[in-house]
Symmetry: C2
Subunit: 144 residues, 2 copies
Amino acid sequence: MEDDIDRLVPDVFSRRCDSRTALEHVTGRWGILAMAALLEGTFRFNALRRRVDGVSEKMLAQTLQQLERDGFVHREARPTIPPHVEYSLTALGRAVAERLHDLIELVEGRLPEVLAARAAYDAAVTGVPGRSRAPAGGATPGPA
Amino acid sequence: MEDDIDRLVPDVFSRRCDSRTALEHVTGRWGILAMAALLEGTFRFNALRRRVDGVSEKMLAQTLQQLERDGFVHREARPTIPPHVEYSLTALGRAVAERLHDLIELVEGRLPEVLAARAAYDAAVTGVPGRSRAPAGGATPGPA
DNA sequence: AGTTGGCACTTTCGAATAGTTAGTACTAAG
DNA sequence: CTTAGTACTAACTATTCGAAAGTGCCAACT
């Protein structure tokens, strides 16, 4: 992405490429979970918020707006009071969500290995399993 | 993940599940790009930094440490001055990186659709294509 | 001789973003 | 009457990120 010719080839490694932000939206902390939940079906706002444990209204609203703008999510609002809004995946969003789902399944399925690695790392760093501490600074190659 | 029995089943939708942070590490802004770069081969620190456009030394160091601790990345440091450190994917990291790569390929390949969606969204929101503005607040269902 | 560049980080401080809380306006149910 | 629900937004606080400088040594260049 160093000049105009290169700009025609999407490349997430280049910070100036629009694909970078699109990728960040679908893999952001709340984006990936919202997409994965929507793969299960259409949700209303608060139902989605309950599905994605820990997300605030603000962050969810912001995330859904980004995803909608990128074309991954479809928002259907009825002119009612109280509001009635439904969110669902677009075809593009579904393609992305399926890959996110694959990733999530893998990470969940191999969590024991991650936990074991963490314990081993912590023990190597501090000599005490379960206690994480950054290696000391300086120009010396750190332990690991 | 509401009680001890549920804690045995990894579930990224639950904020208390360790798989949540593991997923956040590999899909974080810099994590996903570092993993994708390492899929290309082993990198030394500054080579990786050059590969991932826009990342600071601080964020890269922090990201690599997280990934190493989770067991996705292997760090090989020689006891030399100047330092000589190499980063590569573990087997677990490779499995994850391959899925990240699939996702990246998809997002890059369908970027034109994302850009078209953004233009359409901005036009619908502001009447001016290319100019993004959040819908007005209140309890009224927003336009979209 | 001095200067510069390279290596892989860490530290400090300000900028940016995420999170918390309260608010909007209406209806239905208790 | 109060409470709960709906889908957000605004204001303030907390946390994280980014920019810049620093570490200590060696090699290459002037």
